[in-house]
Symmetry: C2
Subunit: 178 residues, 2 copies
């Protein structure tokens, strides 16, 4: 279900996208919340068209098909956004790693946590630089900007947790050298 919504959202934000363009979006800004590959996007676009939520608005060269969201599609999107509770579950390999690192003994865990923290910090700096390169665009395009902030916030939280946990483990190890 969520892939449909994400596609409708991308089309609503910036009408006139091809499967190829969408694949890039799902590899860029949208990848922070819902990554998807072209092999999943093309069939889903076909289904969206079959269900009347999107339509092929234009056929370009090289077989390019440009999709537009329909009124029906907009309604479906708005309904999902205003309606039912979304699932709160997330699955993150990077977080799993952070979560398990404290299992190692302090001499191993602390440097690894600091390395991870530095990695997240670097990503945060990258994204902040990307964001600050662009003047805040006006309403519709602005969404890419908000998305970037969401990514930055999540990564910064991971960075801070890794730092705090490394500090805590270090403190404990110093107080009680097992």
């Amino acid at each position: 279900m969520s892939l449909r919504i994400a596609l409708l959202g991308a089309l609503a934000a910036n009408d006139g996208l091809s499967g190829y363009d969408l694949a890039k979006t799902f590899d860029g800004s949208l990848s922070y919340v819902w990554p998807a590959r072209h092999s999943q996007i093309y069939p889903e676009l076909a289904k969206l068209a079959a269900d009347g939520l999107a339509s092929v608005s234009e056929e370009g060269s090289r077989g390019r098909k440009v999709y537009a969201i329909t009124e029906n599609g907009r309604a479906t999107l708005a309904e999902w956004l205003t309606g039912a509770e979304p699932s709160r579950s997330i699955r993150s390999e990077a977080s799993l790693r952070l979560f398990l690192l404290p299992l190692l003994d302090p001499s191993q865990a602390v440097p690894l946590l600091r390395r991870e923290a530095e990695r997240f910090a670097a990503q945060v700096r990258d994204l902040e630089a990307t964001r600050d390169l662009h003047e805040p665009p006006t309403a519709p395009g602005r969404n890419g900007w908000y998305a970037l902030d969401l990514g930055i916030g999540q990564l910064a939280a991971l960075r801070d947790w890794a730092t705090a946990t490394a500090d805590d483990i270090e403190r404990l190890a110093a107080a009680d050298p097992a």
Copy 2:
């Protein structure tokens, strides 16, 4: 692959767990990074045992099987934790929703963003209360505590983003009433 690691991690943190116990762990603390159902856990434990990474250390009443991580299992876990880059991809329906909410017109988006922010804030308060109920336990069990902090940090980031975005949209709408 990651489920194996998560299971090994849970067994390393607290040896002597059954599939049933593990299912509860994956529904509790571990759910913030890697949720799993018992229907996935039982077969994977069998595979872990077949591969010599864990073993059945004890059989209790009601068919209860207690698993223990083996030396081999510990080595595999340590290798994954210290080794290769974990995938940075995450998939979150809740974040997708936040991400798309700014697409609605301001009069709809702002209250929904504030409602979401309040929801995240409530979750944060809940988790903080849970955490503060318990004295920080000593080394091995301490991991549940760190995990809680990671969950709190992630949710707080979502809360703050929702609040900031609502403020921003409101500010824009006030400046330029379309």
